[in-house]
Subunit: 221 residues, 2 copies
Amino acid sequence: MSEERNTGGRVMLPEPTLRRLPWYLAYVKMLDNQHIEYVSSTQIAKEINVDASQIAKDLSFLNIKGKTRIGYEVHSLVRELVDFLGFKRKHNAFMIGAGSLGAALMQDVGLSQYGLNIVAGFDINPELVGTSICGIPVYSLDELHRCQQQFNVSIAVLAVPVEHAQEAANTAIESGLKAIWNFTPYRIKAPSDIVIQNTSIYAHLALMYYRMEEKKYMNKK
Amino acid sequence: MSEERNTGGRVMLPEPTLRRLPWYLAYVKMLDNQHIEYVSSTQIAKEINVDASQIAKDLSFLNIKGKTRIGYEVHSLVRELVDFLGFKRKHNAFMIGAGSLGAALMQDVGLSQYGLNIVAGFDINPELVGTSICGIPVYSLDELHRCQQQFNVSIAVLAVPVEHAQEAANTAIESGLKAIWNFTPYRIKAPSDIVIQNTSIYAHLALMYYRMEEKKYMNKK
């Protein structure tokens, strides 16, 4: 009856659990900053609108168990979530497309706090190639393969114009990169051993606009 | 039998349809740039991995119908999708939190191309207050209410540290803002008439890291 995907020895987490873990982390990190020592699943539930039993279940996948009547130890809960979510390890990445959004992401120190270490940027614009953004060098896209051999990077962050998205992804995959964090709204096609993570911020804008119109309409009725 | 949510006169789109529309737009925009005149749902389907019948159904919600044997007129499809998704209208917004991620988003011209017009930034850091980022002034968070009366803005883009997320959201809501585009991993609580759009890019990082580990494990087996 369990939803977990057990493949041999390693327990695979259900996708919804995986999506909720960062919410728990955000909240307990805040408690940790306030030097609060224990938190119950009921308290987390109240704060983030997820059933307490669901929270206990999600955390039990990670072998984290609360103590009866006391709850979870906040500091170790933070540590275990950070660890499990991979934020403590350093993941080298290439930024493909160092235009407006790409450059913006290269400037965000938040990414490195969450384990993403952008070691180089790539672009086809000759005005960008040879420059550096926040100390990160920008190379020509032609040099991706050579740089990959030098840096041994697994992740490509894709922030190119839509019409170049698939081509740039192909170049990354051919150079041996294993994951594409896709900021374009284009649906990248890739072999099944490549991880594609879509974060289309402009598509989220459309969702927000639509919901705003919806509420306006509902309020008028 | 229809999945659409019909509230009076206005047809409410099913959420999955709404999520797919920006994918269609990305693809047909590309075709439009290549001066391609017509596209069939089968062709879109092949490119973006969605059933052709689903695409036809999604587009019919917007009253867009293809011609038998010819398909959709690309240029008008782009125009109708851009229009429907609200990318053509100008939506004024405040950036709350002008630190690393906030400043990065203020520098991204892509957002304005998708209709988001950031008119001011807000922060509590005295070193940022009074400066400007890409010509956009940064004010003290205390001035949000006054600025809101001046600019009549509806959208708050939230890029503050997690521990200030709820408080900053409250300030925005009390000042009359109607939508919060939440870039923090914190689950904001808000009255039901407020639109919350979560875009937690760091949570997406965790999903990507996890999937990479999963693939590594699968390949080893």
